[in-house]
Amino acid sequence: MTINGWLQIAVLFTAVVLAAVPLGAFMAKVYAGKRNVLTPFLAPVEKGFYALAGVDPAREQSWRSYALAMLMFNAAGFALLYAILRLQGVLPLNPQGFSGVAPDLAFNTAVSFVTNTNWQAYGGETTMSHFSQMAGLTVHNFLSAATGLALAMALVRGFARSKAPTVGNFWVDMTRSTLYILLPLALVTAVVLVALGVPQTLVASVGATTLEGAKQTIAIGPVASQVAIKQLGTNGGGFFNVNAAHPFENPTALTNFVEIWQMLVISVATVFAFGRLVGDNRQGRALIAVMGILLLAGVAITYAAEAAGTPMLHDAGLNLADGNMEGKEVRFGLALSALFAAVTTGLSCGAVNAMHASFTPIGGLVPMFLIQLGEILPGGVGSGLYGILIMAIIAVFVAGLMVGRTPEYLGKKIEAKEVKMAMLAVLILPTVILGFSAVAAVLPQALAGLSSAGPHGLSEILYAYSSATGNNGSAFAGLSANSVWYNTTLGFAMLLGRFAYIVPMLAIAGSLAAKTRLESSTGTFPTHGPLFIGLLVGVILILGGLQFFPALALGPIAEQVLMLAGKTF
């Protein structure tokens, strides 16, 4: 590890926070329906959409109607995307002449983009037409991110309101998320990326002649626009197969910096917005601190593990200072690769700029564990906030009793209903990840997809199901995931990870909104100080650690101890 490396990491986190504070304030205004800087330009457009769709923006929904609207919207989105992928052969903007996508892959991909996962069992440049990329995938990069933001706001309203029967209007939240937040940010940052050298064109490819005189076809396309939203919306689905490691998706260290910033900025801003909306900025800052501590720990461990390299590299006589550069891009280096890996998994983004499978076992454990902690550090847009609020509810319930009162969080009593729904939500992750992994670990057709034996193979399986269930979408690389077994099971893992989590979460929102918001006093469990931050960090680590420790012991931990003993896979 070097000072320079840490400086790069520090500068990036600072840049994120500096942008997220005003963005959070702006978002709080947008979701409260208050006048903001964009109102003069966008309010007429917004009204136009409502008129077009016949939505009365003043009419709010109960949590049930909100959930129903969300599910219907996503079901329709899934159906449309599935159709586009299957029919892309006859649809326009298909310069490469790709045929329709196979049913299992289309199912997997449609689920993947609707759930904000962007797991890609395909190589973009060799499978998807421009139409599929733009009208299919990119559209869902916006909509799935907007869905996450809308859902988070429903939960925030549950906390902020007192004795309210409703949690907001799904259509209004969706429209505002897309119109005021995602579109403007994507537009501006896409232009920045273009300026920094990312291509944006409808031309399919350019020909080149190599020094040896060979003809080479280099795929290009509308890259910048998709990269901007895949990063901002924590989607992560790359235009190219190797994602942000590709020189057109992420040409320089500077674009790398911008892309990491893009991943973080909305998720962090949402938490600041939450603080404003519940009327206590300290509450938002405490959650940011929890996310920051754990994410930074993840970055540090990965960075340290990669910088330390492996005994084999040392034996080969390589420079110790280089660490483990296998699978990393020289233009990014160790620090920004470690940072990218931790951020993309601490978030539910899943874009990658290095191959996680080529990390040292511990370096690879961190991204996997960050996903397994529930994608809350700081998590996907919206989903990170509601995820960490669920964890906070559990932490407050366990420890809150210790101050001698029925636990309350932000003035809302945490009772059986909330605990039940929170437990239902957190059960999803271990059930789906460990359940599918345990089956895949003994199933011949699943094992056929592995590229390595031993603990590394187990890591490939664990990582795939963690990534799918956590709606992350990054791949450990190595696993041949485009098979009927993986396409189907990973598809279901993504669906469960998203929607089986959301419904109980919305039930909590509804139940909280209906409760009286209690006034806080010195007798109230304080949820903004260092004590609570430490507590929440502890609960997240212990709960997540207890669930996944045995599996991780057999995967990356076993691989690490074996590697130190000189055995690799």
Partner: protein, 675 residues
């Protein structure tokens, strides 16, 4: 705290509670029992097939112990309640009632068994009789010994009409007689309810207990998944894990500690309240007491001593303080009211005057009357009077036959009134002597207690019939946060509703029928045992000592119950970390020897590591039974301080203790040769 007979009975009950139908209420312990049975079956199979069964047998034994220890904890808590119920039951021995058919002809009654009485029946209760059932006095006044209910042997006066008309079955009339209208049928009387409450027969899970149970069930499912999937993951890694070992891992991970102690904690919390002579009608009320953040306290008796007392004597110019004091003394010599006696005490203590042993010769005492509003004494031609300020002025004018200069006198009167006191004029013939300051005396340590409550985030509100000026003065002296002056029952009700809409939880106590609506509206309503039946029905707690100050302690007991639950839950979950470090390396060390570096405790063998974790898991339940029953120490502090302290002890302690405990057990297990 532990009686040998209770413990003996508890051991028997622990085995009876193994009945799965009963255990199913407790998901964690139920799962433990199911897997204990499973391992036992495997043990029998191993014995049958001749495989080495010693290790499996030991695991099975300790799993059963885990279940039994949890049952034992609950049985001890129940046993203590039952012992109390037996004492109460002795008061319920079959009573013979004198049933009246005509209230006006008391000589005509029929002796019937108390069980046959119907609601609405009239009974005559005479000196020496047991009151046959709960009822309302319709006629008569009598002293009643309520020791059977309250444990307090001093008799109380009960009379028809007003707020003291309720009587409780099982109490004894000591003097005079009463005609009582029965208001509760046999079997649903106060005493019956009390017995079933302390016995825990009517015990239902409280809201918080339900929520905690959900959490524990959820964690049990999570660990079930973790352990079951380990079968598949282990097979992939060529580290097949035998079922007894998987079971051992499961049982040590699921929160058996808090699962086993949860109901004992709840029962013990109710029990503590009962020992404190407060009867909660439901466990829900005890929890609500812990949540309360606004206390409505009656001024009289709780904040002040209840009687106004003389605190100073302010002479008019030209009269010495000593002169005025002497006048006050003489005027109060025959005054037997508490105010009069307090004047005598003040004069003696502050001015060193002595009350004459006998009345001065020729003294003629004038008693207080509502028309003159004066009292005093005539000794010769000295005519001393004290009383209401206007009455004193009129007296002075009448005697002197002209105007009386009184500007200094009036200034003092004003000052006293503004400070919340009551001015009492003092006059000798036509000459004003001064003003006596009568004051509501605030209890000496009450201000500190209120400050303590404030630190806990609890607001105190004083309820008084005084005028706003007086109330404000006393409120500031006592350090309450708010007050309701000239309070009517409707005012109290409105105040409670207002506070509740602001998101506050309110506790109050009351005794009169007109308190009933407010008692019912309050989140915690403590009715006085001396109060009316209506008040007792409306509240969710009854204070058998009828001491309104206890409201503060009731809140403490509620908090202690919740704190005990939370602390043991935290402890239980924190324990899991150490158990992982004991069991996980033991599971996989055969397949991947390098994982031995996770064996941070240096446990001797895999078998010993697993066994030690299971033994620790069982023994910790027993070790914590006293804490569960006693409750964790509670001192009023701010939530932040309580959290820091408890998180340190039970969170950090819960992380560290099992590392030490498992290591020690491992050494012992190895030394004995069990593994």
């Amino acid at each position: 705290m532990f009686d040998a007979s209770i413990l003996r009975q508890a051991v028997v009950d622990a085995f009876k509670k193994l009945n799965p139908a009963a255990l199913a209420r407790n998901p964690v312990i139920f799962v433990t029992e199911v897997v204990a049975l499973l391992v036992t079956v495997l043990f029998v199979r191993d014995l049958w097939t001749g495989a080495s069964a010693f290790f499996t047998g030991q695991i099975a034994v300790w799993l059963w112990f885990t279940v039994l220890f949890a049952n034992f904890a609950e049985a001890v808590a129940e046993g203590r309640g039952r012992a109390q119920a037996n004492t109460l039951r002795q008061a319920r021995t079959d009573t013979i009632a004198k049933k009246l058919y005509d209230q006006d002809r008391k000589e005509l009654f029929q002796k019937v068994s108390a069980v046959e009485l119907q609601v609405g029946d009239l009974v005559l209760v005479e000196a020496g009789d047991l009151i046959p059932g709960d009822g309302r006095i319709v006629e008569g006044i009598a002293s009643v010994n309520e020791a059977a209910i309250t444990g307090e042997s001093a008799p109380v006066i009960r009379e028809s009409g007003g707020d003291r008309s309720a009587v409780t079955g099982g109490t004894t009339v000591i003097s005079d007689w009463l005609v009582v209208e029965i208001t509760a049928a046999a079997g649903s009387s106060f005493l019956d309810r009390m017995i079933s409450l302390v016995e825990g027969a009517e015990r239902q899970k409280t809201p918080n207990e339900i929520a905690l149970n959900v959490l524990l069930a959820g964690m049990t499912i999570i660990f079930l998944i973790t352990v079951v999937t380990l079968a598949g993951l282990g097979r992939y890694s060529a580290a097949d894990v035998p079922v007894p070992v998987l079971v051992a891992l499961l049982v040590t991970l699921i929160p058996t500690t808090i699962g086993g102690l949860l109901s004992a904690i709840g029962i013990a919390g109710m029990d503590r309240l009962i020992r404190f002579n407060v009867l909660a009608m439901s466990g829900r009320a005890v929890e609500a007491a812990g949540d309360v953040d606004t206390l409505l306290l009656d001024k009289t008796g709780t904040i002040t001593f209840g009687n106004r007392m003389a605190s100073e004597i302010l002479p008019v110019p030209g009269v010495s303080e000593r002169q005025a004091a002497e006048g006050a003394l003489l005027a109060s010599l025959a005054d037997e009211t508490s105010e009069g006696r307090s004047i005598v005490t003040l004069v003696q203590e502050k001015y060193g005057l002595r009350a004459p042993a006998e009345a001065p010769v020729g003294a003629r005492f004038i008693e207080f009357s509502a028309t003159t509003r004066l009292s005093g004494v005539d000794i010769g031609d000295r005519r001393l009077r004290k009383g209401a300020v206007d009455a004193v002025l009129r007296f002075a004018r009448d005697v002197s036959g002209g105007t009386v200069a009184h500007s200094a006198f009036a200034a003092n009167v004003d000052r006293i009134a503004r400070s919340g006191g009551t001015p009492l004029g003092l006059v000798e013939s036509g000459q004003l002597l001064g003003v006596i300051h009568l004051k509501d005396v605030v209890k000496p340590d009450i201000k500190e207690r209120f400050a303590e409550l404030r630190r806990m985030g609890i607001r105190t509100v004083m309820v008084t019939g005084d005028n706003p000026v007086t109330a404000a003065a006393i409120a500031s002296e006592a350090g309450v946060d708010d007050f309701i002056a000239e309070a009517t029952p409707q005012d109290k009700l409105d105040y409670i509703r207002g506070a509740q809409t602001e998101g506050r939880l309110v506790a109050m106590c009351g005794d009169g029928t007109n308190d009933a609506p407010a008692l019912a509206q309050a989140d915690v309503g403590v009715a006085m045992q001396s109060g009316t039946q209506a008040a007792r029905e409306a509240g969710n707690m009854v204070d058998l000592d009828s001491n309104p100050t206890k409201l503060i302690e009731v809140v403490g007991i509620g908090k202690q119950l919740l704190m005990t639950r939370g602390s043991l839950t935290t402890f239980s979950i924190a324990n899991d970390v150490a158990k992982y470090f004991a069991i996980i390396p033991a599971l996989f060390i055969a397949a991947i020897p390098q994982l031995g570096i996770l064996n941070v405790m240096g446990l001797s063998t895999p078998q010993s590591a697993i066994l030690s974790a299971v033994i620790f898991n069982a023994l910790i339940i027993v070790a914590l039974i006293p804490l569960a029953l006693r409750g964790i120490p509670y001192r009023p502090r701010s939530a932040a301080m309580l959290l820091r302290r408890n998180l340190f002890i039970y969170g950090l302690g819960g992380l560290i203790v099992p590392f030490i405990g498992i290591k020690v057990i491992d050494l012992a297990v190895t030394a004995i040769g069990w593994a």
